[in-house]
């Protein structure tokens, strides 16, 4: 499989002692943005993965410890945020201004 699993929801079955999960949601005007394209860029700015946010605006990546950048693309606009991830759960929000 290479397609993204359903975004958001439970982390049951995910071993947070070994996995580096980066997750969060995309917001605009005080509401979550469904159907936004969120991509994960590595420390050099190269594309690593992309998912489409859930109806609740959620996204989730399984990465590795280190520096990453999240960038969202949606008809209402774009947002970007750098994140320094560690093993376990790393949560953040992308706000489209």
């Amino acid at each position: 499989m290479c397609g993204a699993p359903k975004q958001g929801g439970s982390l049951a079955g995910v071993d947070l002692s070994t996995q580096t999960v980066i997750q969060g949601s995309v917001w605009h005007d005080g509401a979550p943005v469904a159907g936004a394209y969120v991509r994960l860029l590595d420390a050099t700015g190269e594309f690593t993965a992309e998912v489409v946010t859930s109806p609740e605006g959620e996204f989730r990546f399984f990465a590795a410890p280190g520096q990453w950048t999240l960038r969202s693309l949606a008809p209402v606009g774009r947002a970007e945020r750098a994140i320094d991830a560690e093993v376990g759960l790393n949560e953040t929000t992308l706000a489209i201004s």
Binding site: M1, C2, G3, A4, P5, K6, V14, D15, T18, Q19, T20, I22, G35, Y37, R39, L40, D42, T44, E46, F47, T48, A49, E50, V51, V52, R60, F61, F62, A63, A64, L73, A74, P75
Partner: protein, 275 residues
Amino acid sequence: MSRSDVLVTADWAQEHLGDPGIVFVEVDEDTSAYDGGHLEGAVKLDWKTDLQDPLRRDFVGREAFEALLSSRGIGNDDTVVLYGGNNNWFAAYAYWYFKLYGHRDVKLVDGGRKKWELDGRPLSKDTVERPATTYRASEPDLSIRAFRDEVVASIGSKNIIDVRSPDEFSGKILAPAHLPQEQAQKGGHVPTAMNIPWSKAANEDGTFKSDEELAKLYAEQGFDEAKPTIAYCRIGERSSHTWFVLRELLGKSDVKNYDGSWVEYGSLVGVPIEK
């Protein structure tokens, strides 16, 4: 073969929805995207349940492919216009697959579902029924498909292009980062492979870069025009995207997709791996 023979714009697609002789086909791994809204009149193909053998790791056979296309109402003379999510990964895989079974006229919608959605173009939830056809496929064209022994034998002699992200190439992660990272295979890449991620061939909206940009990209990365080429990724769909760029857009000869890709190679006993 040139760009206009194999790639159509979203505008072109929107203008030709419903035209006789043109069948729009959405290809995804998760067809819930199609069910939530698709191009008007488009039929769907499920990458996994329709295009993969249910038992072995392989394509469906020629007869099963004929039955599949017949049931979807696709005829041998139809122009098949493919699009999908994930920046057209699975649509490009289906493009390669249709070519493998000898379909004459196949095209991709540039940018796929993503550009269509970002442009705010209309999607339909109507059920699509097309009258069944009697589709006839050719024997698989193995000049565009590489198997593991050929990959091992090509180390140091052919262009081997690893189209995964740099972190997968280096073995830091084992799958694209939207998937859990627990995998059986070893991390790393085929020795002498060039890492030219598929994403370098695409713009952010999922459209392909211009022919000039693409030619420059591969030349800069050391692509040798005199040598045959094998592209691979993790399971063969991102490398279909690059196969499409090299063979269909840039017109290079002797380009194969190794669909066994890293899931197979990284599990083989005794083959060389670099990190």
